[in-house]
């Protein structure tokens, strides 16, 4: 029995990925395949072969932007987009270092920002991300331009009932 395959299937909670007959329609339509080291079809094959480390340690699972073209076109209804979410979450839960660190740092900064104010405050979120990623100076001119146009406000309205927002974060926290 292939534990990795079973674990992924259980978390997807839908069509088992053995249903894939490798027509590669997912990959033909994937807008990020050009930037991935393993295309979506290959990720399925690697899972079928139980190659956990290669999958969870890949850049692919972070580069997937969840455009859902794959699941829309898959003739066997394998939910590859959901599979990518599952793989990212498995990588986080099992402590596999994200191959694309800044993509994960962006997600973390984004969620930390919601946790703080209930809504995204773009300047605060960007500062958080930049400090975590060390990518301090990119997009500065653009940021200043947007600030001048009043698109980046430091005091955007927040959610008032923050207790309920924090409760959601606490109760969904992954061990």
């Amino acid at each position: 029995m292939n534990d990795f395959l079973e674990e992924v299937n259980a978390k997807i909670n839908g069509v088992p990925i053995q249903r894939c007959y490798h027509c590669r329609k997912c990959t033909a339509g994937c807008p990020l395949a050009f930037a991935m080291e393993h295309n979506p079809n290959r990720v399925i094959r690697l899972i079928q072969m139980g190659r956990r480390e290669e999958v969870l340690g890949s850049a692919t699972i972070w580069l997937c932007v969840s455009c859902e073209t794959c699941i829309t076109r898959c003739p066997n209804e394998v939910d590859i987009a959901r599979m990518m979410d599952v793989l990212r979450q498995m990588a986080i839960e099992t402590g596999v270092a994200a191959k694309e660190k800044n993509i994960l740092r962006f997600h973390e900064a984004f969620l930390a920002n919601i946790r703080m104010g209930g809504r995204i405050n773009e300047p605060a979120m960007m500062v958080h991300y930049k400090l975590k990623s060390g990518d301090l100076f990119s997009d500065m001119a653009m940021g200043i331009d947007m600030f001048r146009k009043g698109k980046l406000s430091l005091i955007s309205p927040r959610t008032k009932d923050m207790r309920s927002v924090r409760r959601i974060f606490e109760k969904t926290r992954q061990s």
Binding site: P31, L32, F34, A35, L63, V65, S66, C67, E68, T69, I71, T72, A81, D85, V86, R88, Q89, I92, E100, N102, I103, L104, R105, F106, H107, E108, F110, L111, I114, G118, R119, I120, N121, E122, M126, Y129, S133, S138, D139, M142, D145, M146, K149, G150, K151, L152, S153, S156, P157, T159, K160, D161, S164, V165, R167, I168, F169, K171, T172, Q174
Partner: protein, 283 residues
């Protein structure tokens, strides 16, 4: 008609011209917007990429708040929020165990009693294109847009079905009603790179430049979208020589209806669309 309104975080910040134009067009078409009380962020890509339950619970909090206004559809203009709301709704309706858990997390009952809708759907299918057309005082002659839906309005089809998945047409019909000369193209639902724009900018630049090249090849002089993420990427990430002006469809509706304030919104774009509009005597 009266609808609950979920602007989402973008429409209060980087996409404020979308918020202003949705409000303006809604007023003109007799759609009364009532903002969902004390709403919170939908969690966007970052929640569902890293924490499934969080990605359902955050929109569930807003859906439950919206259900206080019975039988009132929820208008969600941001494609990203719309997709998260529809996906959460899908899970809550089809997985009773998850629903019970999320209700406990959020502290409220989810009844599934309100419909989540995008303004494209509301304007085309409920208000009607004839009504829209009657309000047009300045036809957008010479404007040759391509409709750009991006990923999140129509995928996956069993969750977000209000237009064809591969070749959606409602946005084309709306723009035609405004008098624009819509160009056909095959990239209506191709991806702009979404949330990678900050963390993997170079990839997004490649994706956006390709879309711009295809729009030019289709004979377009602008792109029209209903998504703040698509707008940000198309408008700001295209290389200077590749980029075409990009509009929210509601900005063009307001322009064609002769509404005040449109020029102020266009000023907020990164790629200034005013030279194009002035050249066509639309401003």
């Amino acid at each position: 008609m009266k609808v609950s309104y979920y602007p989402g975080c973008s429409l209060h910040g980087t996409a404020k011209e979308y918020d202003l134009s949705v409000r303006s067009v809604s007023r003109a078409l007799g759609i009364e917007l009532e903002e969902i009380e004390d709403w919170s962020c939908c969690g966007a890509t970052s929640a569902h990429s890293t924490n499934f339950k969080l990605s359902v619970a955050l929109p569930a909090r807003d859906l439950i708040a919206a259900e206080k206004k019975k039988d009132q559809d929820v208008m969600v203009p941001c494609a990203a929020c719309f997709n998260r709301f529809k996906t959460a709704e899908h899970h809550l309706r089809n997985d009773p165990a998850l629903r019970a858990e999320v209700e406990e997390i959020v502290g409220g009952r989810y009844q599934g009693s309100v419909a989540v809708r995008n303004p494209i759907d509301i304007i085309a299918n409920t208000i009607g294109l004839e009504v829209l057309q009657e309000k047009v005082v300045k036809k957008l002659a010479g404007l040759k847009p391509v409709s750009y839906y991006g990923c999140l309005l129509l995928r996956p089809p069993e969750v977000c079905r209000f237009d064809d998945t591969e070749n959606p047409v409602l946005l084309d019909r709306i723009l035609e009603a405004l008098g624009a000369e819509v160009r056909p193209w095959s990239f209506k639902t191709d991806c702009c790179g979404g949330s990678l724009t900050i963390s993997k900018t170079e990839i997004v630049v490649q994706m956006v430049n390709r879309l711009m090249a295809m729009a030019r090849e289709a004979g377009a002089n602008c792109l029209v979208t209903a998504c703040p993420v698509c707008m940000a990427n198309l408008d700001m990430r295209a290389s200077a020589d590749a980029g075409l002006p990009v509009f929210y469809f509601t900005e063009l509706a307001a322009l064609a209806m002769g509404q005040e304030g449109t020029e102020e919104w266009f000023r907020l774009h990164h790629k200034d669309p005013r030279p194009l509009l002035k050249g066509l005597q639309l401003l």
